[in-house]
Amino acid sequence: MLWSLQSRENIFQRALYGSAFLVVAILILFFLTLLFKSFSAVWSNGWGFFTGVVWDPLAGVYGAFPLLLGTLLTSALSLLLSLPFALSIALFLGEFFRKGLFSAALRSSIELLAGIPSVVYGFWALFILVPLIRRLEILLGVVPLGVGVLAAVLVLAIMIIPYAAALSAEVIKLVPQDIREAAYSLGATRYEVIRRVIMPYARSGFFAGILLALGRALGETMAVTMVIGNATKMPSSLFDTGNTMASLIANELAEATDPLYVASLTQVGLLLFGVSALISLAGKYIVRKYSVEI
């Protein structure tokens, strides 16, 4: 009896080790295949891949800097734009109205928004957002393209809000009730409690939420492809067209026939992989540094 319990325990443990190992193996293999497939491009593009601003497959010139810039720019701007909204919703759900009809309605709306496939967002942006931007561009006297970096930033921001808000609301709820009460018992107002007790406590959690949102923005493909204009060049302004790494790969992989072209696209994939990994590692470090020890 004892022996069989022991062996069951062993099997369980081995299964755990096995699946953990599998995940690590997949990650490494994934990285290696990307590296292997893009090797010829890494070799022939050299540093020009990172610094070049011209992406011209016909001429065999592959400079990915505009893509890197496009990805970082759209992600960062959309994040910045969504933060105030996400934080307000999070405070609303996590602190002010934890229960009740309105809170439940808001919560379900957020879950629904988070669940909408990105192609639908892209569709909506194309039909609603792009014409609005075009009208704005006419007003401002710039070329009325409609599509472009601004459209991509706006649709990304809208897509990000539910993620960042839902996670931050959970983080706010995790703030122990007894330290809230301690603050109130000292005569603090609600605003003061939020600002000086809840926010500092939840800081690292917010950061984790932001990071998740950023990861989503970096990799978002469909909605961005539909509205950014897909022009691999340095955007001259927010109203100009541009491109991102994910969007470029989605658009061009099907038509790429030249081996160096395919390899260069894979290299873009590798770069995207690297950027995401870097941001998530940096984020982990910051979360650890600012989390509250209890």
Binding site: I179, R180, E192, E293
Partner: protein
């Protein structure tokens, strides 16, 4: 003349009436202990004195609480809480703040401006009053959560004292502590009553008899008996009090 007068206090949570028609007068600069079995409404009474119940939507408070002749519920809740400090059952220093900031929290939180020297002096005197200064004076910049449980509780006492409250509400301040830490808090309570009125909730009969001048005994939400501790512990007037004191229930 009583500093605090509780008159016909009733508190209910939805259907559940937790405190039923409690009246008592609290004498200034004395220790008043509230005893009674678990769930009899002791914490609820304390929390209606500093109006902490207003944080939960389903608590209903009826009756009056008079602080120095003024109806507490007609004043601003934030100002009332600054005049009436509270120490909770479990030590709850702010985990994101240093020891120094924890003591100064009442000022930092409320945005009350004090210059550096005043604040330094205030932090020192509050920590001294809470008998914690000697232990932490070299680590004021460290997080408060690094302290031991007993030190954390004294830090919370210092935090409450820093606002110079007229009344301190202590809700079983020693129940989460070991006997030695508990003894040092008891000593502290006795010392503090020279300057502040103390309301002490406790399960510990011996503790109540050691530190209190007056004792209230509550049972099932009602105030069964209230009077001088010396009398209550030697000749209780009510049969239920006597049974509680002799350990028949609770």
């Amino acid at each position: 003349m009583a500093i605090l007068s509780i008159q016909n206090l009733c508190v209910s949570f939805q259907e559940n009436m937790a405190v039923k028609n409690v009246s008592m007068d609290i004498t200034e600069k004395k220790v008043t202990a509230i005893m009674g079995p678990s769930g009899c409404g002791k914490t609820t009474v304390l929390r209606s004195i500093n109006r902490l119940h207003e944080l939960s939507a389903h608590a209903r408070v009826a009756g009056r609480v008079i602080l120095r002749g003024e109806d507490l519920y007609a004043l601003d809740a934030m100002l009332v809480r600054r005049r009436i400090g509270m120490v909770f059952q479990r030590p709850n220093p702010f985990p994101t703040m240093s020891i120094y900031d924890n003591v100064a929290a009442g000022y930092l939180l409320n945005g009350l401006r004090l210059d550096r020297r005043e604040l330094d002096a205030l932090v020192e005197s509050s920590l001294r009053a809470a008998a914690l200064w000697d232990e932490v004076k070299d680590s004021l910049r460290k997080r408060g959560t690094f302290l031991s449980g007993g030190q954390q509780q004294r830090l919370c006492i210092a935090r409450a004292l820093a606002l110079r409250p007229e009344i301190m509400l202590l809700d079983e301040p020693t129940s989460a502590l070991d006997p030695k830490a508990a003894a040092s808090i008891e000593e502290l309570i006795v010392r503090l009553k020279d300057s502040v009125t103390i309301l002490l909730v406790t399960h510990n009969i011996a503790q109540a008899s050691r530190v209190s001048d007056f004792t209230a005994f509550m049972y099932l939400g009602e105030l069964v008996e209230f009077g001088l501790s010396a009398k209550m512990f030697t000749a209780p007037g009510d049969k239920r009090t006597e049974e509680y004191l002799t350990g028949k229930f609770g």
